[in-house]
Symmetry: C2
Subunit: 424 residues, 2 copies
């Protein structure tokens, strides 16, 4: 039986789970997959961790793994450096590499995949980088791409989905819920990467590369996080038959143009993505020839993510050729926010006086934004009352200009809340 020697660099939550579960499932893998996976080396800067892994060769310098006789290097330290150099040198030495490092892949994925296609170079696998335990990378690349992918819509970040679900189910403000998420370990102490949509953007870039042969120019993609979602918005969404989710969307437009964006959006409460709650992740793929697909599951956690890492290691034991996803499709281009159009949810804070609605409506009409419905609730005793509107389809540029104009009216307390309605 083929034996694969694995070296694991980085013994954080995922690294520890990978070691534990590789040892636990070695027999199952031998029986069911015909490959014997041996944990030949583990590595962490914290030398004291060696005591937790008796009987496995332990080193504290990553290069002692890269320069050893392992067949597969598993990089689980995260961040761009030194992970980039470790992976690059490993591939050059002909070692296969498995990584879960989405930040690195979003920035240097194309470069590393190209390297992995080189003669005598190792192969690269990264199933765990998006949606933890859910096999979306394998599914999109090895399967759905043959049906002609039209769009990929993801709920890719567990922290933000936990916060939004929690606000919807239990009420509570964004701030309170974020604090709770921190206490429960669902949010980091510095949660900016998650809350502000950057983590979702990194993952979206990877999916874009797999689905359309195009990684995203990160600085150019429209990204809006969930800091400004008010519990009021969540209430109104519910009343209107919607749910608010942080979506990461990439879509092929006519003329080989690509639309990519990350932002909170209303989605119909009846849509399967609306049911994706808590720290679950999901990816919804629409195809030309095979209709729509949904994949969902736990997006984080050591054990779930380790299943994806192990799947990659095993696949390297089974396969022989580097898949050529590295041949980037140079013919597709990203479109800017200027070409977006949506139906929108707008929530104005307006002085409770006659004529205010007429003023708002006039501005919207001036910019070609047409109103589908208006709701105005009595909220006794406040100077400002909420007015909620759903619009018909409108160009984003015009809508934003209209909002600026409306926000400058003396009867309005800015900023007016704008949330896109995702037509799925």
């Amino acid at each position: 039986m083929r034996q694969i020697k694995v070296g694991i660099i980085g013994l954080g939550t995922i690294g520890r789970a990978v070691v534990k579960n590789l040892l636990k499932t070695r027999g199952h893998i031998k029986r069911s997959q015909g490959v014997d996976i041996v944990v030949a080396k583990i590595c962490d800067k914290r030398k004291s961790l060696s005591k937790d892994f008796k009987g496995i060769p332990f080193v504290s310098d990553a290069w002692d793994v890269v320069n050893s006789d392992v067949d597969v290097v598993v990089e689980l330290i995260g961040g761009v450096n030194p992970a980039f150099r470790i992976i690059k040198e490993s591939l050059k030495k002909g070692k296969d590499v498995v990584t879960a490092n989405k930040a690195l892949l979003a920035e240097k994925g194309g470069l590393l995949l190209n390297l992995a296609c080189g003669k005598n170079c190792g192969r690269l696998r990264f199933e765990a980088s998006v949606c933890g335990g859910v096999p979306v990378i394998r599914s999109i690349y090895s399967h759905l791409s043959f049906a002609g992918i039209k769009s990929i819509i993801g709920i890719l970040n567990g922290t933000t989905n936990y916060i939004l679900s929690n606000m919807a189910d239990l009420g509570g403000s964004f701030k309170e819920t974020l604090e709770k998420a921190k206490k429960l370990g669902y949010a980091e102490q510095n949660p900016s990467l998650d809350i502000d949509g950057i983590d979702s953007l990194h993952k979206l870039s990877i999916l874009s590369y797999l689905g359309f042969g195009k990684s995203l120019p990160l600085a150019k993609v429209f990204v809006e996080g969930i800091r400004n979602i008010d519990s009021l918005d969540i209430e109104y969404a519910k009343e209107l038959g919607y749910v608010i989710k942080l979506l990461a969307v990439v879509r092929l437009l006519p003329g080989k143009k690509l639309e990519a964006r990350v932002h909170p959006a209303f989605i119909p409460a009846s849509h399967p993505l609306a049911r994706v709650k808590g720290s679950f992740n999901a990816v919804f793929v629409d195809t030309e020839r095979a209709g729509e697909f949904l994949f969902s599951g736990l997006g984080a956690g050591g054990d779930a993510t380790s299943a994806a890492v192990i799947a990659d290691i095993v696949s390297l034991g089974r396969e022989s050729l580097q898949a050529h996803i590295a041949s980037e499709n140079k013919n597709v281009n990203l479109v800017g926010r200027g070409s977006f159009s949506f139906r929108y949810y707008l929530r104005f804070s307006a002085v409770d006086k006659p004529g205010v609605l007429a003023k708002i409506s006039r501005v919207l009409a001036d910019y070609g934004v047409s109103i589908a419905s208006v709701t105005q609730k009595q909220r006794g005793g406040c100077k400002f009352v909420p007015i909620v509107m759903l619009t018909h389809n409108a160009q984003e540029i015009k809508l934003l200009k209209a909002r600026s104009k409306i926000d400058s009216l003396s009867v309005i307390k800015p900023p007016t809340q704008v949330i896109r309605i995702e037509e799925i």
Copy 2:
């Protein structure tokens, strides 16, 4: 670039779509996967079909494909014979085989997979046999199995799901809806394989083999179709917060015992599987270490299914080793219906007289079945009125005995409707 010559046997809906889409995606596959797939031979008994495929070598005898120089034989004729012999001989000749033939795999899958692991034999792939375009086979075998699969629950048959969804959305009896489904092409003229659960059973057997290393003894598995689902049941389900689906379930119990069953079941309306409508299929997998996963998408149709067939062909071009799923796990055993226990929905047709409910309740109590809720609606003018009950968890054997006893009461019009409530 590696070139793979493919021979396609059977030009029905799927076969035609495979040929069309292989030609259409050849360039995409070369660029993105590094393999050149050539349609080298097509075969159908109906010689007249050759005119639809100008320029591709056409034969009318399947053995002219098996004995040719193709690398991959794609079997799309369905049924056990002669498909079994065609696949067996192709594998023995060292040709890889791709099939969508669930009936054959349910009966002879283990045998064929073992053969495919033999020296100098070809490899076998069958992604399209379950859930059409949805990559559940690849996902379960190459990914989720490393997280320790506990149970697999599928909506595996599009015809029955279409009928049940349609009854729920539009009212209408089972018979009317079946006729409509036939007219629209969602049901075959002889729909028994679908309606009676046999098709679901075939697919469940394949998933059981992948998830637990155990194909099912088909004759021993409890299978109940949807013929007896009344529109009343669907109404009541809705009122009670449930949806009725035809589920195919396989679950690992303590002591390496396996529970497998196909039957209509109530599932909570809030569960993601409840959202799987029309001819969509879905598979819900629960794992020890990575939580729950849902996969859904179009389960039928030529284009959707052809994506799975093409994915298999491409994977054969990329991989080199036969995966060893053929080593059947001899340590797991199927449990019988005797060990089932559920919460149940019961609908009695009872004479509208005082004391009837007391009689029913007494029988249930005698058999240890405890009642969670009772609903009795006034339905003026009929001799018999429906009484609906939800029970607490009860042993199936005892429940069925209680039902027999109740059905023998003079105040009851048999048979009493029994539907299991799936705790998902």
